[in-house]
């Protein structure tokens, strides 16, 4: 019975040429918009006319395979075998550059400006490391391999610079690096221990300072931080050097160090963190290639709505319900058929759009942040599922309202419009926009977020840069919950009203 019902609904879908064409169009439009978005960005890149595109940044990859920013000033010496480094940080201060090239700078320490000590596999940007540091606004932290961050003991954060007078120690033993901190240099607190697989016998160890861009809505202003260290152990000789390429557009800010007796003054700019899509660097999230999903969403909404309302309009619904009096079953069969068809179309569209878009973006000098295969599968399947659930929502609303205009407008109003309001084009303040993307069905777009957010990295975590307030599957669950609610209402309405 159920199989026959599904077969009937499938036949109804398959034999309407316009709907089949629309579904193919939904898949095609996803790919076409990905191609367009991938190739339309070219004029942002510099480079001489006719010459090679130059804005493809040379982005190092971290030990986990993710793109990283590894830019700081490092005062180092080789650390043969096991050993330790101890310093006292006596001050940390910073400046922010102005918008103009080589313009004046203003005082201002960033919350995630970092000064401390590090054990690093090599001086190559992107190599494994473990570090313990004082920060501008988050106290003592121990970080390793770009993505991990451990807060120091509570009480250590405090106003800068008075409380930044901290003792820090890193101890290497085999592959394990342990970080300690102390207020007086005698009573030490263990902050954390990390295992750096494959740390070479002779690692690089020393003092480092870096300071990330000050993030605002439209971009970032480079900053630099200066820290003073004393009680440095082991004794020298120390040599200073820049790790990673510094921001080339602001030559005013560059790393340096000065040693007067046992006192080291180190200045650095940059960050040691995962590379994220954001206003500053021009890195692109792979999700960028899924922009066409908005157009596809509208197409599948129209088809989903018509799958129900056309039957009411033609009177076919009465035949359907006469042939299969179980009204809930009819609704379920319709939802299953339209959901499966949309999922298939979405899967095909997203699976083609993602690699094609990324390829074109790369060809045009953009750096597309690498993601794991699992994340790519989630992006493709998630996009297909997002479209499928939206189409089912349209079916439910079509069954409730029975006319075409309302359901289509409603689905667009609850999925596309909140996203639009949350974007910079909407006039809403960020707090309200985030809230919209949490409670409305538009939360489902979170399933397309490719790059994780990191609490220890200051960035612009907005939909403009492919970030959503909810975790991917949580956001998708919000969309599913709304759809389930709509289906429940549709079921009640279908039972209560004559067709």
């Amino acid at each position: 019975m159920t199989a026959r019902l599904l077969h009937a609904e499938w036949t109804k879908f398959r034999t309407v040429r316009g709907w089949v064409i629309a579904m193919v169009t939904a898949a095609l439009v996803t790919v076409l918009i990905a191609m367009w978005a991938g190739s339309a960005g070219q004029d942002q890149c510099g480079g001489a006319a006719g010459g090679p595109v130059t804005c493809q940044p040379d982005v190092p990859l971290g030990p986990g395979g993710e793109a990283v920013t590894d830019v700081f000033y490092f005062v180092r010496q080789p650390l043969p075998g096991n050993g330790s480094v101890t310093v006292r940080v006596t001050s940390l201060a910073g400046v922010v550059s102005s918008e103009q090239l080589n313009g004046p700078v203003t005082a201002g320490l960033q919350p995630w400006s970092k000064a401390g000590i590090m054990v690093k596999a090599s001086s190559r940007a992107g190599s494994a490391y473990a570090a313990i540091m004082v920060t501008g606004g988050h106290g003592v932290r121990m970080q390793d391999d770009y993505v991990d961050d451990t807060a120091g003991p509570p009480g250590s954060p405090g106003p800068v610079p008075a409380a930044s007078r901290r003792w820090l120690r890193l101890v290497r033993s085999g592959d394990t690096v342990t970080g300690y901190e102390s207020a007086d240099g005698t009573r030490w607190t263990r902050v954390g221990a990390v295992r750096l697989a494959g740390l070479p016998a002779t690692a690089q160890a020393g003092l480092f300072v870096t300071s990330p861009d000050q993030v605002n809505a439209t971009g970032g202003a480079p900053t630099e931080a200066t820290a003073v260290f004393d009680h440095v152990s082991p004794p020298g000789p120390w040599s200073g050097g820049q790790i990673g390429a510094n921001g080339t557009s602001y030559p005013a800010l560059s790393g340096r160090f000065q040693q007067v007796g046992g006192r080291f003054t180190v200045t650095g700019s940059g960050d040691i963190a995962p590379a994220l899509p954001g206003p500053a660097d021009g890195y692109v999230s792979p999700e960028h290639s899924l922009a066409g999903v908005f157009a596809a969403l509208i197409v599948v909404t129209v088809v989903g709505t018509m799958f129900v309302t056309a039957e009411y309009r033609r009177g076919l619904m009465r035949v359907t319900l006469a042939a299969s009096p179980g009204r809930g079953r009819v609704l379920a069969a319709k939802a299953i058929v339209i959901g499966s068809v949309t999922f298939a179309a979405g899967l095909a569209g997203a699976a083609a759009a993602l690699p094609v878009g990324a390829r074109l973006l790369r060809a045009n000098g953009k750096f597309v942040l690498p993601v794991s295969a699992l994340t790519e599968v989630r992006l493709i399947a998630g996009t297909a599922a997002l479209l499928a659930v939206a189409a089912v929502l349209a079916v439910a609303l079509g069954a409730i309202l029975r006319h075409g205009a309302g359901p289509v407008a409603a689905v667009i109003a609850v999925i596309v419009v909140p996203y639009f309001f949350a974007s910079p084009l909407g006039v809403l303040p960020p707090g309200v926009a985030d809230w919209l993307l949490r409670v409305t069905p538009a939360a489902g777009f979170a399933v397309e977020q490719a790059i994780a957010r990191y609490a220890q990295v200051a960035s612009s975590y907005t939909p403009r840069y492919d970030y959503y307030p909810l975790a991917p599957w949580a956001g998708f669950a919000v969309l599913c919950a709304w759809t389930a609610l709509a289906l429940a209402v549709a079921l009640v309405v279908l039972h209560r009203r004559d067709a």
């Binding site: 918009i33 367009w36 978005a37 339309a40 960005g41 070219q42 004029d43 942002q44 021009g282 692109v284 960028h288 922009a291 908005f294 157009a295 509208i298 197409v299 909404t301 129209v302 709505t305 018509m306 309302t309 309009r313 953009k366 006319h403 075409g404 205009a405 309302g406 359901p407 289509v408 407008a409 667009i412 109003a413 596309v416 419009v417 996203y419 639009f420 309001f421 974007s423 910079p424 084009l425 909407g426 006039v427 809403l428 303040p429 707090g431 309200v432 939909p463 403009r464």
Partner: protein, 250 residues
């Protein structure tokens, strides 16, 4: 012409949904505008949007969707029921039918849009007292009157699209797709130049620049020029609709 106007007016007036939808237009416009005003109650200047006039008319972004439904239904409901054949038998001049529909829908939008805009402005004065008054009256008046014109043009665009495609779901999907997908696409394209072009070409992004009261030089397109872009879209849709009406049997 007078008779076909009257016929169209009667058809729209006697359908219950028209009244509710027009009421919905006013309610949604005022409610969303007021919510945007309330959300902007901030003390620091950094977090505040400078263009209070535009903020106070945020409801247009959603209210236009209801206007589009009204205009679409004015045409597609007739195709859904077969009424269109009676209409065209009574008024064989098809252009006259379309013109009469445009006039009636435009008039209704003028009323509902006017009420919505008036309510939004009053809500803005109530929620953000004083802030609206500090602005020069000229741009505010242009924004308010322009928004009503904008809604009328959206109604005409929807009417044209609906006449061309003849189905409610497809027509509403097409119109709202045109309105909302342009700005969303502008966001994802990395190039600022393309973003600007998309904002200049999109019926919603260009048309809504009429609401700008400050920083006119930084807009992708001037207020009246932007409304002109939307008018071109509406005219194109009406011409397309008119052609389909002439060439195809109802």
């Amino acid at each position: 012409m007078k008779q076909s106007l009257r016929a169209e007016w009667t058809k729209l007036r006697t359908v219950a949904s028209t009244g509710w939808l027009l009421l919905g237009t006013v309610a949604v416009t005022v409610a969303v505008s007021a919510a945007a005003d309330a959300a902007d109650l901030c003390t620091s200047s950094a977090g505040c949007r400078p263009d209070v006039t535009r903020l106070g008319l945020t409801g247009t972004d959603v209210g236009q969707a209801v206007v589009a439904i009204v205009a679409v239904l004015a045409v597609t409901a007739e195709y859904g029921t077969g009424m269109i054949r009676t209409t065209l038998a009574a008024v064989p001049r098809r252009t006259a039918v379309l013109a009469a529909k445009a006039a009636v829908v435009g008039g209704l939008t003028l009323a509902a849009g006017g009420a919505g805009v008036l309510g939004s402005v009053l809500a803005g004065e109530l929620i953000l007292p004083g802030r609206g008054l500090t602005l020069p009256a000229g741009p505010t008046a242009r924004a308010a009157a322009g928004t009503v014109l904008y809604l009328i043009l959206i109604a005409l665009l929807s009417l044209g699209v609906a006449t061309a495609v003849r189905d409610s779901a497809v027509a509403v999907g097409t119109v709202l797709g045109l309105l909302y997908v342009f700005p969303v696409l502008g966001q994802v394209v990395a190039s600022p130049a393309w973003q600007r072009h998309l904002e200049q070409a999109g019926p919603m992004t260009a048309g809504l620049e009429i609401q700008a009261s400050t920083g006119l030089s930084q807009l992708p397109i001037g207020p009246w020029a932007g409304l002109g872009v939307l008018a071109a879209w509406a005219a194109a849709a009406l011409v397309a609709g008119g052609l389909v009406l002439h060439l195809r049997d109802a």
